[in-house]
């Protein structure tokens, strides 16, 4: 009896190598004669470049070359934006190395190529750049004022959209309750632990680029488009990649420039970023001002929702910069039914690092706003926040349900997840303790925060992406090959960087082909091996890529069936497949899939029209997004004397559909929750009025450590997705999306008796204390 692999908490195949230091981080790699690249970066947020003089650097020991933007001007092209969200969007030219003008602190203005990194660093100091300062544009509202300095010739507005569904005016007309709030989604620095690195080499004709990227396939296409080097002469390899969280879903200046340097010099070059360089120049996340209005009846039923966003694009539009706020366009209404919805968004240019995807990308922002506002509605009506949600959410029996924003949620069970979470949390008991502390006037108040979130995952179907004017498809590809000895090689177009695809895909294949888990290997992240792929982001890998693996296995099995029928002289329909073997129904006669792999290899006796291989390719493109959901509950203790917030307990019940590997799913949720808590309590990228980033190091940008975070209590409900045969929904972003509002709701809940109904994130002790001081006066 074989155990089904899907659902088992398999320990990861990836671990042993990573645990013993046999790693292939890009910065570990070397080539004979490798040269090191370093970039000189603008210290000014906005300036004209009057001159760049690299001649002194060129003469320094160990220096092989030094270049300014002018030296690349003819060949460097413009970094791509693949998501023009409106017809009239302004997409400014974005040279990988600045030539005439710099628009954010950290933009590359020159580079040095030297025999080692110390020599390169020395030579950077010898480069002279003459800047003519221009005014910085830091604040979005000021940027939109008619007298603002301009980031680009065309002005500071990148795009503006409004989407309406239902009669929004009617929804607000005579509404007994209107909640009107403005929330700030602070700018965040994704902070994958592995800083970026790029290596490029050439044999004079073709090029290989190794990069710490989430998107080797997309990068290859884009490098070809940007540089004009033919695509078939570029190979991109993503070796071990140390986290991404969206920050490595990018086509970066450094990737383009390293490729061009390899071409200019005919030598291998490598660049590895320092953390402070990375804080300045890895794209940032979030950064929205959200104006939210909600109309409701006096019994708590939501009538309508109006959302107006200002989204900070930073200085340029990078790969999917303008698409990020638009990923929230259909998510503010979340799990709630309502009569009308309006979403408006204006993308604004500022002289700051561009923003782009960061874990959740558009959906955490939307979820935060709606979940905060639902709590405000509950408070306004004197109702329990759970009850307000219950009155408005889509009931289990109503699925599939088409929401006011036009998405069709295939499945969900908000009741079940919420019931489970409430029980685990001990909701009633905590409410009683809260009441008691309030009565006693305890200086340490208890707050309870709720977040009943959903999100859209998968970033597919391609058809819907096309409708949203996204520049690529959303399919994924897989190949499955039976090797002559019966082992299996799986090639996936996804590009894992911590998610454990090698393990999960092995489990899927083990079930589909009946081969042992240990007999399966998974290859990825090299465009010469995984020739087709759409890579890893948007919680899409399992939902799209894992399903492509299933589809490829299905084809392999059908090929094997034909071969088995031929060898056992029966009809394919007379064969049963179980535990990796085809048996002629009603007989003892059988062939294992391993035997069939060998038979296909020797090809001594193949049926007519069957090729000498037992392998197959498949792509998968679903017909809908997937919609994980869950209920997160957070209890915080707020010290009203110091402003200190302590998370006392955190319960998360997630429904991510079918679970392939519970260990990996839990890990994703834990890490996700931590990142969401980090936004709520700790992290913020701060620019001063001159456009200088003040949080350039890990000493200034507060990533939480183990000492700053609690344990989480996790559980699941499993409502399989109907949009794919595995029933999976995606889990990479769920925790991050859910947790930020749960924490802030809890803090506000603790402080509500003081007349406080918002604290701006991150809710630092200082901010909490100041809010309390404000009302004490």
């Amino acid at each position: 009896m074989t155990v089904q692999e899907v659902g088992q908490p398999r320990k990861r195949k990836e671990d042993a190598r990573l645990l013993t230091g046999r790693t292939q981080w890009t910065d570990n790699l070397t080539r004979p004669g490798l040269l090191h690249v370093m970039f000189l970066r603008s210290p000014m947020a906005h300036a004209r470049i009057a001159s760049v003089d690299v001649s002194a650097a060129r003469g320094m020991p160990g220096v092989v070359a030094a270049f300014s933007g002018q030296d690349f001007a003819a060949e460097q092209g413009s970094l791509p934006c693949a998501w023009p969200v409106t017809e009239d969007i302004v997409i400014p030219d974005h040279p990988p190395m600045a030539v005439d003008e710099v628009r954010y602190v950290g933009e590359a203005v020159a580079c040095v190529v030297a025999t080692d990194r110390y020599r390169a660093a020395d030579a950077l100091d010898a480069i002279e750049v003459d800047y003519e300062p221009l005014p910085a544009v830091v604040d979005m509202n000021e940027a939109l004022a008619s007298d603002s300095a301009k980031v680009h010739e065309a002005g500071n507005k990148a795009f503006s959209v409004t989407i309406t569904s239902g009669d929004i005016e009617a929804a607000f007309r005579d509404a007994p309750v209107v909640i009107d709030r403005t929330y700030v989604q602070q700018r965040l620095i994704p902070s994958a632990m592995e800083p970026r690195a790029v290596m490029a080499d050439t044999d004079g004709e073709s090029f290989t680029v190794w990069s710490s990227t989430q998107i080797p396939h997309v990068l290859r296409v884009m490098l070809a488009v940007v540089t004009g080097i033919p695509e078939h002469r570029i190979r991109v390899i993503a070796p071990d990649v140390g986290g991404g969280f969206g920050s490595k879903l990018q086509v970066t200046a450094e990737e383009v420039l390293c490729l061009l340097l390899a071409r200019k010099l005919g030598k291998p070059v490598k660049w590895g970023e320092s953390r402070s360089e990375g804080n300045l120049t890895v794209h940032h996340g979030r950064d929205q001002i959200q104006h939210v209005r909600l109309a409701a009846d006096s019994d708590g039923r939501v009538r309508g929702l109006q959302v107006g966003l200002l989204a900070d694009m930073g200085a340029y539009l990078m790969l999917v910069t303008p698409g990020i706020p638009m990923l929230g366009a259909q998510m503010f209404n979340a799990i709630y039914k309502m009569d009308a919805y309006e979403f408006g968004c204006t993308g604004v240019f500022t002289t700051k690092m561009p923003t782009d995807a960061y874990r959740g990308a558009g959906r955490p922002e939307a979820t935060f706003a709606i979940e905060r506002v639902m709590d405000e509605l509950a408070a306004e009506l004197g109702m329990d926040p759970i009850e307000v949600r219950r009155r408005n959410w889509i009931r289990h029996e109503e699925f599939p349900y088409t929401t006011i924003s036009g998405l069709t949620y295939d499945s969900g069970n908000y009741e079940a997840a919420t019931e489970k979470a409430l029980a685990l949390f001990g909701y009633d008991k905590l409410r009683a303790e809260q009441a008691d502390r309030r009565d006693r006037g305890d200086p340490v108040q208890l707050g309870i925060g709720v977040s009943t979130f959903t999100e859209m995952c998968g970033l597919a179907p391609s058809r819907m992406l096309g409708e949203a004017n996204y520049g690529a498809g959303g399919w994924e590809h897989a190949s499955v090959r039976m090797l002559p000895t019966g082992k299996v090689e799986v090639i996936t177009g996804t590009s894992p960087h911590g998610q454990g695809h090698v393990t999960s895909w092995s489990q899927i294949v083990s079930d589909a082909l009946g081969v042992p888990f240990d007999d399966i290997t998974v290859l990825h992240g090299d465009t010469a091996i995984a020739h087709k792929g759409m890579d890893t982001y948007g919680s899409r890998s399992l939902v799209i890529g894992g399903v492509a693996v299933v589809k490829a296995c299905d084809k392999v099995r059908e090929k094997a069936r034909r071969l088995a029928a031929h060898l056992m002289e029966c009809s394919p329909d007379d064969l049963d497949f179980a535990a990796g073997a085809f048996t002629v129904r009603g007989t003892e006669q059988s062939r294992t899939i391993q035997e069939l792999a060998y038979a296909a290899f020797t090809a001594h006796d193949l049926p007519e029209g069957v090729e000498a291989r037992l392998d197959s390719d498949a792509t998968f493109d679903p017909d809908n997004y997937s919609f994980p959901h869950g209920t997160h509950l957070c209890a915080v203790e707020v010290d009203t004397e110091t402003g200190m917030v302590k998370i006392r307990s955190y319960v998360a019940v997630d429904d991510v559909g079918t679970v392939v590997n519970p260990l990996i799913v839990e890990g994703q949720v834990q890490g996700g929750i931590a990142q969401g808590i980090a936004q709520a309590l700790f992290e913020e990228a701060v620019y001063d009025a001159e456009g200088n980033l003040l949080t350039t190091t890990m000493a200034d940008y507060l990533l939480p450590s183990a000492a700053d975070l609690p344990n989480f209590t996790l559980d699941r409900t499993e409502t399989p997705a109907t949009s794919n045969p595995l029933g999976v929904k995606g889990v990479g972003e769920a925790g991050t999306i859910a947790s930020t509002p749960a924490v802030v709701n809890a803090i506000v809940d603790a402080l509500r008796p003081y007349g406080i109904h918002d604290i701006r994130m991150p809710c630092t002790p200082e901010r909490v204390w100041r809010a309390l001081e404000g009302v004490r006066r």
Partner: protein, 160 residues
């Protein structure tokens, strides 16, 4: 250029190094010990943690010349060929790593933590690993792994 003698993972090296070269760069770029990664430039992340004469240090904040005459153990020198150190094994069992970038430093720091406190509470582990950042795991499983590693190591000691 000063000449130093340093033992790394059981092998003794004699190297001429510029005084400004960091230990982590000596390890990675000269000795090929790329198992120890670099995650920051302000000694905050702990990714580069190694044992220097048995105590954990952030090898990005030690100069190579300061390691003259010392014994360095990196993640590559733990365990024996064919079997992992109990702490490495515990990280595997508890799914305490995702991308694995923080892992070498985390494991080295955990081993050093147990040197001072062989049976640490969850709270002690959380405080003790404060100087090692992980962006992937949310730390829950790392804390569990260190507890498990402590138990395994405790047993290993009593057995021998």
């Amino acid at each position: 250029m000063p000449r130093i003698t340093v033992t790394v993972d059981g092998v003794t090296y004699e190297e001429d190094v510029e005084p400004r070269v960091l230990l982590v760069h000596l390890l990675r770029e000269r000795l090929g010990k790329t198992g120890t990664p670099v995650g920051c430039d302000t000694s905050n992340c702990g990714a580069c943690t190694v044992l220097l004469d048995g105590k954990s240090v952030k090898s990005c904040s030690v100069l190579a010349v300061q390691a003259d005459g010392c014994d360095v153990v990196t993640i590559e020198g733990l365990g024996t060929s064919g079997s992992m150190h109990p702490m490495q094994q515990a990280f595997h069992e508890e799914h305490a790593l995702q991308c694995g970038y923080c892992t070498p430093g985390m494991v080295m720091a955990a081993i050093d933590l147990l040197r001072e406190n062989p049976d640490p509470s969850e709270e002690t582990i959380r405080q003790g690993l404060e100087g090692n950042l992980c962006r992937c795991t949310g730390y829950c499983n790392i804390v569990r792994a260190v507890r498990r590693g402590a138990q395994e190591m405790g047993q290993a000691v009593t057995r021998s």
